[in-house]
C-alpha cells in the first residue's frame, strides 16, 4: 500500500507538472489576448512529433532544444498570420480559428506520420531505473521529466517577476484592458507571448512523448483536460493553474490506484433488482471513472465557485 502511495504521488506530481507546463502558456495567452487557444494541445502534439523526428535525425538532446523552438515559431506564425487578422471579427471567431487549426493539425500530423504510435524511445543515457521503491523500479527518465518541469516552472516565475516583458504580462493578467493601451509594441508582445506559450507546450510534448505515447490523437486526449485545469484554477490565474494542475494530476493518478466502488463499501445490491442505472453506479469502481473525474470537478466548481479556485474575474 505504501508503495502504491509513493509511486502514485510521484506519478501524480509528474503528470500535474506536465499539465502545468501546458496550462501556463494557455493561461497567459488567454489573459492577454482573450483567446482561448483550442490548438494549444496540438502544439504539445507537434512538440512530440518534432521531437521524435529530430531525435531520429540529430539525437535527443539537440531535439530537446530545437523542437520547442520550432513549435514556438509555428505558434508565432499562427498569431501573426491567423489570429491577428481574425481579431477584428471578435473572440468567438478567434476561438473558432484555433478550433479549426486543432482539427487541421491533427490531420496533417496523421497524414505525415500515420495513425499508429511512434517508436519514440527514451534516450539511452536516461534509460535506467533511478531508484527502487520497495520492489518497483522508478525510471530515471521520469525523474528527468520532473526536473525539467520544475526548472521551467522556476524560470517562468523568475521571468514573470524580474523582466520587463514579464511585468507587462503580469499587468495583463490583472488588468487585461490595460494591455490595449501599451502602445505600438502590443503586436510584438502578443506574438512573443503566443510563441513562448506554444514553445512551452512543445517542450512538454518533447519530454512527454517518449514516456507517454506519441500518436496523432494525443492532442484530442489531453485538450479538454487543459480547459478543465484553467477553469478550475481560475481563468487568468497562474497560481490557480499551478494548483489545479497538481490537483488534477494527483486525482487522476490516485483514482486509478484505488479499487473502491459503492458495492465494495456498502455491499452488493440485491441481485433481484436487475440491471438499472443504480446497479451501474453501484458497481463502477473509482478507477473506472478516473477519466471523468476532472469534468465532475469542473461542474462542481462552476456551481459552487464560478470564478475557479483562485480566479478573481468571472470571465
Amino acid at each position: 500500500m505504501a508503495e502504491l502511495i509513493v509511486i502514485s504521488t510521484l506519478n501524480g506530481i509528474l503528470f500535474g507538472m506536465l499539465l502545468f507546463l501546458l496550462s501556463s502558456g494557455l493561461t497567459v495567452i488567454f489573459s492577454m489576448m482573450g483567446v482561448l487557444n483550442f490548438a494549444h494541445a496540438s502544439f504539445y502534439m507537434l512538440g512530440a512529433f518534432f521531437g521524435y523526428q529530430l531525435t531520429r535525425w540529430i539525437g535527443f538532446w539537440p531535439a530537446l532544444v530545437l523542437a520547442p523552438l520550432l513549435v514556438g515559431a509555428v505558434g508565432m506564425a499562427v498569431e501573426r498570420y491567423g489570429l491577428r487578422n481574425t481579431h477584428k471579427h471578435g473572440h468567438v471567431a478567434e476561438l473558432l480559428l484555433t478550433f479549426g487549426l486543432a482539427f487541421a493539425i491533427e490531420e496533417i500530423v496523421s497524414m505525415i506520420w500515420g495513425k499508429s504510435p511512434m517508436d519514440y524511445r527514451i534516450p539511452a543515457a536516461l534509460d535506467f531505473p533511478a531508484f527502487t521503491v520497495f520492489s518497483t523500479n522508478y525510471p530515471a527518465y521520469k525523474i528527468f521529466m520532473l526536473v525539467v518541469s520544475v526548472v521551467i516552472f522556476v524560470a517562468l516565475l523568475i521571468t514573470l517577476k524580474r523582466t520587463r516583458v514579464g511585468l507587462i504580462v503580469q499587468a495583463a493578467l490583472t488588468h487585461p484592458s490595460m494591455v490595449g493601451h501599451l502602445g505600438h509594441n502590443v503586436g510584438r508582445v502578443f506574438m512573443l507571448v503566443f510563441g513562448v506559450g506554444s514553445a512551452l507546450a512543445g517542450l512538454a510534448g518533447v519530454i512527454a512523448g517518449p514516456s507517454l505515447v506519441t500518436q496523432s490523437d494525443m492532442a484530442a486526449l489531453l485538450g479538454p483536460i487543459l480547459f478543465v485545469v484553467i477553469v478550475f484554477g481560475g481563468l487568468g490565474s497562474l497560481p490557480g493553474a499551478f494548483i489545479a494542475s497538481l490537483l488534477i494530476g494527483l486525482i487522476q493518478t490516485f483514482a486509478v490506484a484505488l479499487n473502491g466502488s459503492l458495492a465494495s463499501v456498502f455491499g452488493p445490491l440485491d441481485p433481484s433488482l436487475g440491471p438499472s442505472p443504480l446497479t451501474d453506479i453501484w458497481n463502477v469502481t473509482i478507477a473506472q471513472v478516473a477519466p471523468i473525474l476532472p469534468y465532475v470537478l469542473l461542474v462542481l466548481v462552476l456551481i459552487f465557485r464560478p470564478m475557479g479556485l483562485l480566479g478573481t474575474r468571472e470571465s
Binding site: 468567438v92 480559428l97 505525415i112 479538454p224
Partner: protein, 434 residues
Amino acid sequence: MTNPVTTATAATKDESGGTLSFYGIWLIAAVALVVLPLIFSSGGSLTSFSLIGISIIFALSYNILLGQTGLLSFGHAVQYGLGGFLAVHMMNAVASYDWPIPLPVIPLIGGIGGLAFATLVGWVMTKRAGTVFAMISLGIGELVASSSLILRSVFGGESGITTDRTALPHIFGWTFGPQLQVYYLIAFWVMISAIAMYALTRTPLGRICNAVRDNPERVEFIGYDPHVVRYFAYMFAGFFAGIAGGLTAINFEIANSAYLGATQSGLVLFAAFIGGTAYFFGPILGAILVTYLQLGLTNVTSVWQLYFGIIFIGIVMFAPGGIAGILMKHRPLIRARTLGTVIPSYLVAALPTLALVLGIILSIETVARYTASEGEGNVINLVGIPFVATAPTTWAVAVVLVVGGFLIARVTWRRVAEAWDRAATVARDRGYLA
C-alpha cells in the same frame, strides 16, 4: 461573425408586399421536399436526403445558440444524443407495451428529452456567455459522453440500443420500413421544425436573444435578465436538437454513445458556421454542404477531415459570414443593378483561384499518398489528369500551382475588391446600401 448587415430583419421591411414572397419561399421548400425523392429515387439518394434533413434541423437548432444568442457551444450533441436515446427507449416501450403512439410522434419525445436535459443543466451553464460558456459546454459534453459508457443499462455500452421502427402502431398503412416513408417523416419534421424555429426568431424572446448576442450589458438596462434569455435559448436549442436526435434514432434504428460525442458537436458547429450564422437560412446551406461532403468526400480521399478543417479555417478568416454571408452581400448590388460591374473581375479572379485550390489539393494528396503507401495507391487523378505522387514533376506542378495561383490570385482579388467598392458606392447612392 460581425457581419454588419442584420439578421432576419428583412422580413419586417415591407410587411404587406413581402408576405406573399415570404410564404412563397416556404411553399417552394415544402414542394421541393415532396418532389425531391421522385426525381432522385435511388436508395442512396434517399439516405443522403434523410441525413441532410436531420442535419438541417440540428444545425438550425445550433444556430439558436450561436447565431441568435451568441453562445458558442462545443457540446450541442449532448441534447441531440439524449433525445435520440429517449426516442429509442420510447419506441421500444411503445412496441412492448402496445401503447397507441405512432412513429411520427416519436421525434417529439426526442425533443422532450433534449429539452429536459437542457432545462436541467442550462441554468448553471448559461450563467456566463462567451469563452466560459464554450468551455463549460465542452466539459459537460465530455462528462455526458463518458458517463454514457458507464451507465450501460441506459445507454447500452458502446454497441448502443437498437429498436425497430416498424414495430410501432401503423397509421395510414405506413409501416415506415421503406426508407422513402422515413424520408417523408423526416421531411415533415424538417418543415415543422424550420417553421417553428423561424417563428421563434420573430417573437419577443427571439428578438431579445439577438439583443443579448449584440450587447448583454445593455439588455440589463432595458429590463431583461440576459441569463434568463440565454437559458430560454438553450432550452429551445436543446428541444430542437432532441428532435433531430429522435429522427436520427428513427433513421438508423439505433442510438449509441457516438451520438453524444465531440465529433457530432464539432460537425454541427462546422455546418452552422460554414453556412453562415448571421442568417436564418445559413445553417441550412451549411448542413447540406457539410453532410454532402461528409458522405461524398470519404469516397474520394482518405484525408477528408483535413479538407474540412481547411474549409473551416478559410471561412473563419476570409468570410466570417459563411456562405450565406457571401450570398447576402450581393443582394444590395442585385437590387441596385450594379452586380454586372463586379462579375468580370470575379471571372478574372476565378482562374488563378482555381489553380491555387487545385494546387493545394494536389499537394495534400501527394503528401498523403507519398507517406501512406507505396505501390498502386500513389496515382492521383486530378480533373482527369493522372499524377504520380512519387514523381518530381507532380511536386513541381503542385508548387507552381500553389505559388503561382497565390500570387496571381492576390492581385486579381484586389481587383475584385476595387470593383466591389465602386459597385457598392453606386448601390449606396441609389439607396440600397446603408
